[in-house]
Point group: C2
Chain length 154, copies 2
DNA sequence: ACCATAAGGTTCAAATTTGAACCATCGGAC
DNA sequence: GTCCGATGGTTCAAATTTGAACCTTATGGT
């Protein structure tokens, strides 16, 4: 077992910053969405993804990949949203096993109502705190991280 | 209600990158730690914070702040770690209400055993994927984000 | 000293998450 | 055509997280 390459100061700062920012931002958004729109961030993201997809619908697996959640977790949340009338399930014609989640009119309405507050919270937590150059660099770096992990971790 | 300032392309890229990277990295580490050391990332972080604190111990509230978790969540995890013999509780002399969590010898041992694999995973997911300049910029930006949110959200 | 209020932790029930097991069905190899 | 290993989703129990309620002790103001 080789001597591990410990993190130097710069690396440690980046890592600790990442962990802290991650948790704080998540908390910030979770609270805002719950209070103002009665949605969890996951639920909000489901609506966003569906609203952006052609036909307002996506296959469950596809949706799970985009959200970076487990399949069972998605099943649960979609069921919740279904009970609330914000999404519906539709079976897939070409594959009997397949299920489409589809955003409903009420879902669109909820999303439209929630979006402004959410965007404001995102600005407050992340966007408006950084300069344009910093944002570009951030998007670039995190894009790289995302791409690597998506290919590495299946 | 004013027309909200929607995110432009740059801002959206930064935000989506943040959300995706956040989830993917968390997943990556959670899996690695669980498999190789039988710890959740939260538990690992508790050990790290305690190991870095003078006397190997911290007040519960202090610890909760550093971990960015709810107090009840911390109570739960510390209890788990206590059952496993990795930390202990000690009451505070100057404040009867206070409780110190303290890392045990077994805790040190577990941490020492888990650290190399964890560092490797952190490198694989985040550090080694970016250039030194990118890391510096990232640490800087996320530091700003963290500072703002820490002062804003109580 | 006395009170009102804040702070420190725990407890509790409810909501969520996770991974493994499971049940089909799909698709390609033979 | 038939078989077998992947795929798509759900289900289940167990682990975790959350926020509110609660109890106790500190503390600042009067």
């Amino acid at each position: 077992m080789d001597e591990p390459r410990w993190l130097n100061e710069r690396e440690m700062a980046a890592w600790r910053g990442f962990v802290a920012a991650t948790n704080l931002v998540a908390r910030h958004l979770e609270r805002q969405l719950k209070e103002d729109a009665g949605l969890s961030h996951t639920q909000y993201e489901i609506l966003v993804q569906l609203s952006a997809a052609p036909g307002g619908s996506l296959r469950m697996t596809d949706l799970a990949d985009r959200l970076v959640t487990s399949k069972s977790g998605l099943t649960y949340q979609v069921t919740q949203l279904e009970k609330a009338g914000l999404v519906g399930r539709r079976s897939c014609a070409s594959d009997v096993r397949g299920v489409f989640a589809e955003i409903t009119d009420a879902g669109w309405e909820t999303l439209r109502a929630a979006a402004p507050g959410h965007v404001a919270a995102v600005r407050e937590a992340l966007i408006d705190v950084l300069t344009p150059d910093q944002l570009t660099a951030l998007a670039d770096s995190l894009g790289t991280v995302t791409d690597r992990l998506r290919s590495t971790d299946r």
